[in-house]
């Protein structure tokens, strides 16, 4: 199939080649596709330019940003990055990594187990459990902000990493359970029945059959969870109050307040916060997209 697509796209590079039968639609396609290309390019610029602008101005002095934010820096102030890093971005970054990775691990683990239980077993109240889990999908963290604030305190989690991790896991579970469950439903029953015949326990069916067959969807779940916990803002500004424990979203707010009009350093801080993740994504993307795609073919 992949080869087939390659050939097609080569054909399109020389659109006049194809047979007479398809000519009419091809010509319309050329006109349409070039205007589409323009739109794609404009959108490309709309996304990329602000990011480029951020990097460019992060290398300037504030007064230079005020006077001309479009120009390239006259003097490349890499010190801005050093300043930003030392002023606290390094700590926020580490905190975000800790919180995000623990959240991802726990979420994917508990979701996969839950999805397995929901798809492969029947038990009393399963429908209720399923409804409650699906219902949890629609219950947003904001709604429970005040009781959670009280709950986190009475559990003694306030102002610890767990004050973020545990609610994050809880609120990601419904979605990831749903996602993984949808995939588990597509795994044919015959495979596991064969395994049971061989005397496998359900747990080893889970670890040996379901997990390997679901690597792409588990990765997707992990990435979506990471996306959530990396970005989460509301809990992180309320449940953590120690500057040493702040994650990037809440840390940056403190960072901005601290800097007043020192915009160059602030932009440097923003860039540092964004860049490694972008790089990581570019690096992981092949894996991610290939995972999604192969999952797609299987489904």
């Amino acid at each position: 199939m992949q080869q087939n697509m390659e050939t097609v796209s080569q054909q399109n590079a020389a659109p006049l080649l194809p047979t007479a039968k398809k000519q009419r639609s091809r010509r319309g396609l050329t006109w349409g596709s070039s205007s589409l290309l323009v739109i794609l390019l404009l959108y490309f610029v709309a996304i990329a330019y602000p990011l480029f602008w951020m990097v460019m101005n992060s290398l300037k002095e504030s007064s230079e940003i005020f006077s001309d934010s479009w120009a390239l820096p006259t003097q490349w102030l890499f010190e801005n990055y050093v300043t930003a890093w030392e002023q606290g971005i390094s700590a926020y970054f580490l905190n975000s990594v800790i919180v995000t990775s623990l959240t991802c691990f726990l979420t994917v683990l508990l979701s996969a187990l839950g999805a397995y239980g929901l798809t492969r077993f029947s038990f009393r109240g399963k429908r209720l459990v399923l409804i409650l889990i699906l219902g949890g999908l629609m219950l947003s963290p904001q709604v429970s902000l005040i009781p959670l604030y009280k709950l986190i305190q009475s559990l003694g989690l306030f102002n610890t990493y767990w004050a973020l991790i545990i609610p994050y896991v809880a609120y990601r579970l419904p979605f990831t359970v749903l996602l993984i469950r949808a995939h588990f439903l597509t795994i044919p029953k015959e495979i596991e029945e064969a395994a049971y015949m061989d005397g496998c326990s359900s747990f080893s069916v889970f670890t040996r059959i379901f997990l390997p067959l679901s690597t792409p969807i588990l990765l997707t779940s992990a990435l979506l969870t990471a996306y959530f916990s990396w970005n989460e803002f509301l809990f992180s500004i309320i449940f953590i109050d120690d500057n040493k424990l702040k994650t990037i979203p809440s840390g940056l707010m403190a960072f901005r307040d601290m800097l007043q009009t020192d915009w160059g350093v602030l932009l440097a801080g923003l860039t540092i916060s964004a860049l490694p993740i972008i790089l990581l994504f570019l690096f992981m993307q092949k894996y991610f997209v290939r995972g999604l795609t192969s999952g797609g073919i299987k489904g």
Partner: protein
Amino acid sequence: MFARQRSRCGNSPSNKVSAQKARQWSPERLHCLFIHLGGNDMLQRKYAGYLYVLPGFLLILLFIYFPIVQNIQFSLFEWSAFSADKTFVGLAQYAKLFHDPIFYQALVNNIYYAVISLIFQVFGGLVLAAVLEDKVFRKISPLFRTIYFTPVIISITVIALLFDFIYHPQVGLLNGFLSAIGLESWTRAWVGDSATAIFAAIAVSQWQSIGYIMMLFIVAIQKIPQELYEAAEIDGASKIRMFFHVTVPQVREMTFVTSTITLAGAFTVFNEVYILTGGGPGHASEVLGTYLYQSAFVHDQMGYASTIANVILAITLLISLVQMKLSKTGEE
């Protein structure tokens, strides 16, 4: 091996004693339960199901449902965060809310958010996905896909703070751009102007999230059997026809998923608005999320904040019920 385990903990009559002993919550019983997971017998698998589901489910109960219930209780009282006494006021807070013009302002803004997000994220994301998945753009689509997706992985705080610069009335990128292309008269204080503040925040959301929804649709489109397109092509269908007659019906389930995500996001939005406008000027860009936050932690009206939370809850539940009715998710 498995047979032996079963005989040790399971149903064989010779094991009655140990089974009784195991009724207490002991490690041994746990062990047995776990070995029950291996059983094919439906009775045993009942326990196993519970065990798999339990850890996550308990977490959901404690951190999602318990607060929801408590929230309803909280909304019936008038109370302050730093005072122990609560005054029972019944439904008075709800009555007050439904006469509160700021609440309606916020609700309208959330509705704007929802409609615009549906158009740009769900419809726009689907179109974008379809275009990028089209054979014509095979070669360049990985690059575009990557760039479009980039904002998704950047923290919303970074993005909102960046747009704070972009919207800056005097040195911002947007006004600079408008002046440069001769649209000086269009320049304005985007987040300081009541007419544009909420849309400025909504725009940031779209900028960040279209790529995410697009990616989900790309996955869905890649699942569509190629033969359907080939068949349509043989019938001489145009690209647009193929989009509406093959792509759209085929990604129906994903459309429900993305609409749910988008709508729920629109009614619970907080970050962009809080960082960019704080709900201002006046209450022009207030959304339910910021109003809830303000009521709780600025105005110290915890009961009123809980009331707002319950309204958000009702709205999001309504959306989900409609979605569930329309889609088949949650059935099969």
